[in-house]
């Protein structure tokens, strides 16, 4: 599959009086043609910086980027017509109507006026198109932003948090829209925090943390690679569940008690569990790996899982590790 978007070793450093902050630290990403590609990362991990850099809004300090095989930002003007994008929250001049806003963009891009009507219909703003944007809700502004990105019928659509502010119906419509666009041959790069949506919509994902890629591949592969660390442990009836849990905790396991079983979260080697328990004459009746969802994989890879009693700061990530390995 041809790569529509390639990023290799991308670096961006911000210097201020407080010191140097590496927003991107050798980040890599590849998006193939026709994919719906999820781009995930915690707040401040470098997602938006990546998108802004790719779209020529920020100057990188190093690395290589290409869109449709053309080096950017040098050749960006030549490929910009094929890229529709919204970056971060939708921003429009509030005193213009949605139709005016899109019509001005269409003029700037030399597009036909019919496209404006078509995209307004597509995102569900047809009947509100003559109202001022400042009267719009966040969800309606989001729809307008998507409309502006779709206006030039791009081959690559880059959407940063497109479901932000949308109601449940809107989120479902957005999901359907993404699927339809992908089926029509459009490549979609989707940055989102709604991991359930990503899991439903995307074929491939790239996860970024602290400016670096920490995982990439198909959603199924990423889940498979990170689904063995948690196991469900059920003991024979009548055995002291709490005592067994304390025993494992004493050996460094992260144990979460449930009603009739417990979960060991960092079980890199599940055999350790049976061995430690068997030594104390406690026998396991069920030991099953827990199939991870994208959220838990994301939290594990980015080290952003909430820890009881701690307030995690935006740039704070903990190194993922395993017990018993």
């Amino acid at each position: 599959m041809d790569a529509v978007l390639e990023i290799a070793g991308l670096r961006k450093t911000y210097r201020s009086r407080k010191g140097v902050r590496r927003a991107l630290d050798g980040f890599d990403m590849v998006v193939g043609a026709g994919q719906v590609h999820g781009f995930l990362g915690p707040n401040g991990s470098g997602k938006t910086t990546t998108l802004r850099t790719l779209l020529g809004l920020i100057r990188p300090n190093g690395g290589r980027m290409a869109l449709f095989g053309q080096e950017v930002p040098r050749r960006l003007p030549e490929v910009a017509g094929s890229v529709g994008a919204i970056v971060e929250s939708p921003q429009f001049f509030g005193n213009f109507t949605a139709r005016d806003t899109l019509s001005l963009l269409a003029d700037a891009g030399g597009l036909k006026k019919e496209r404006v009507t078509a995209v307004l219909e597509l995102v569900g703003l047809r009947d509100r198109a003559r109202e001022r944007v400042r009267t719009y809700s966040l969800g309606m502004k989001q729809r307008l932003a998507v409309a502006s990105a779709l206006l030039k019928e791009p081959k690559l659509l880059i959407l940063d948090e497109p479901a932000n502010g949308l109601d449940p119906g809107g989120i479902r419509e957005m999901r359907t829209l993404m699927r339809n666009l992908a089926e029509s041959g459009m490549t979609v790069l989707l940055s989102s925090h709604i991991l359930g949506e990503i899991q439903l919509i995307c074929d491939q994902v790239t996860i970024i943390s602290a400016g670096r890629r920490v995982a990439a591949g198909s959603v199924a592969d990423v889940l498979a690679r990170h689904s063995s660390s948690s196991v469900k442990v059920r003991l024979e009836p009548g055995v002291d569940l709490l005592g067994a849990a304390e025993l494992l905790r004493g050996n460094g396991a992260e144990v979460t008690l449930r009603d009739d079983h417990f979960v060991v979260g960092n079980a890199g080697n599940p055999a350790q569990i049976t061995r430690i328990l068997a030594e104390k004459q406690i026998y396991v009746s069920e030991l099953a790996p827990i199939a991870a969802d994208l959220e838990s994989v994301f939290l594990e890879l980015t080290g952003t899982a909430p820890v009881e009693g701690q307030n995690r700061q935006v740039d704070q990530v903990s190194a993922p590790g395993g017990w018993g390995q």
């Binding site: 910009a80 890229v83 970056v87 429009f92 001049f93 003029d107 891009g109 030399g110």
Partner: protein, 335 residues
């Protein structure tokens, strides 16, 4: 061309543009109406009446002088003599002290008065151009519109340059059209409430050139507002600089320069440069100095700001601000 067309539509569609152009038009209309109402045409009857009034005042003044002289002479040798000049030397008024012009109503002589109206016209439109120029790009920066546009047209200098070009061509077109209306309007006012008789080909040429310099002033003001708002990425940046320049640099600087007895403090004040640009020159005088004149007496030292010098300063200011805006546009991260 499509970007130019889109930006022209954007400029014209903005409520801020419409509002401030309308305000400018209302101010200009008020000035024209004020001039029309406060002047009147002077005919032979009015001149005769003014001459008669001047003559009557002269005669009354002569009679009053004679009466005082008689009182003075009567008071000689008495205690009241001290209330009068010695020897009753009271000079009689001259006929020339009573110019009939002083007794005539205000009249609008096109040749004499219209240059002041050109200055007013240029000042009002320059203010409008400055504010509209600042808002045109400042609102784009602060609303995120500039970022949207750059996603469509990732050529930064072309985008900013086109916006500036749209602003300047629109301002030039508006100024040119209004300039013609302004000139025709005051010509008609002069015909109805004054005189156009002294207008010669040379006078028309001089007024035309002054209007062209007024147009340049309007364009410079628009470009400065645009450049400053783009540098600060907000309309308020340009408005803040304008207020800062007026309050701090002009009033504050004038006070400091006066206290320091600096020669020609006008050199540091923008209005005098604008005056020099529009009126071809401004002659600053240092009344504390004395150049001995061969004809006798003291002449204050002078310094002339020519329109060429003022034009050079304006060009330098344009390059500094607009060049700075272009340079930062090329270099900055757009976040």
């Amino acid at each position: 061309m499509s970007l130019y067309k889109a930006e022209t539509r954007r400029l014209v569609k903005r409520r801020f543009t419409k509002l401030f152009v309308l305000c400018g038009l209302l101010v200009l209309a008020a000035v024209a109406a004020g001039v029309f109402l406060s002047n009147q045409r002077v005919g032979p009857e009015t001149v005769a009446r003014a001459k008669a009034e001047a003559q009557r005042n002269y005669q009354e003044s002569v009679q009053e002088t004679n009466r005082i002289v008689q009182e003075c002479q009567a008071a000689q040798g008495t205690a009241d003599a001290g209330n009068f000049p010695p020897n009753c030397e009271i000079s009689a008024p001259q006929q020339s002290d009573f110019d009939p012009e002083w007794y005539m109503p205000a009249t609008f002589d096109f040749r004499d008065k219209f240059p002041e109206m050109v200055t007013t016209f240029a000042a009002v439109l320059a203010l409008v151009a400055y504010i509209v120029g600042a808002s045109f790009v400042g609102a784009e920066w602060s609303s995120g519109g500039m970022m949207n546009l750059l996603l469509w047209r990732p050529r930064r200098l072309q985008v900013l340059g086109t916006k500036l070009l749209v602003l300047l061509t629109s301002a030039a077109a508006l100024t040119a059209v209004l300039g013609v209306l302004w000139t025709v309007g005051f010509y008609l006012i002069a015909q109805a409430r004054g005189s156009t008789e002294s207008m010669t080909g040379g006078a028309w040429q001089s007024i035309g050139l002054m209007e062209v310099r007024g147009l340049v002033l309007v364009l410079l003001a628009g470009a400065l507002g645009f450049g400053l708002a783009s540098l600060g990425r907000h309309t308020a940046m340009a408005l803040g600089v304008a207020i800062g320049v007026i309050v701090v640099l002009q009033f504050g600087l004038l006070t400091v320069l006066s206290l320091a007895n600096v020669k020609f403090p006008e050199l540091y004040l923008a209005p005098f440069w604008i005056f020099a640009w529009l009126n071809k020159e401004y002659v600053a005088q240092d009344y504390t100095s004395c150049d001995v004149s061969p004809l006798g007496g003291c002449q204050p030292e002078t310094l002339t700001i020519t329109w060429q010098l003022a034009g050079g300063a304006m060009a330098a200011l344009f390059l500094l601000v607009v060049g700075g805006a272009m340079w930062t546009m090329r270099r900055r991260d757009i976040t």
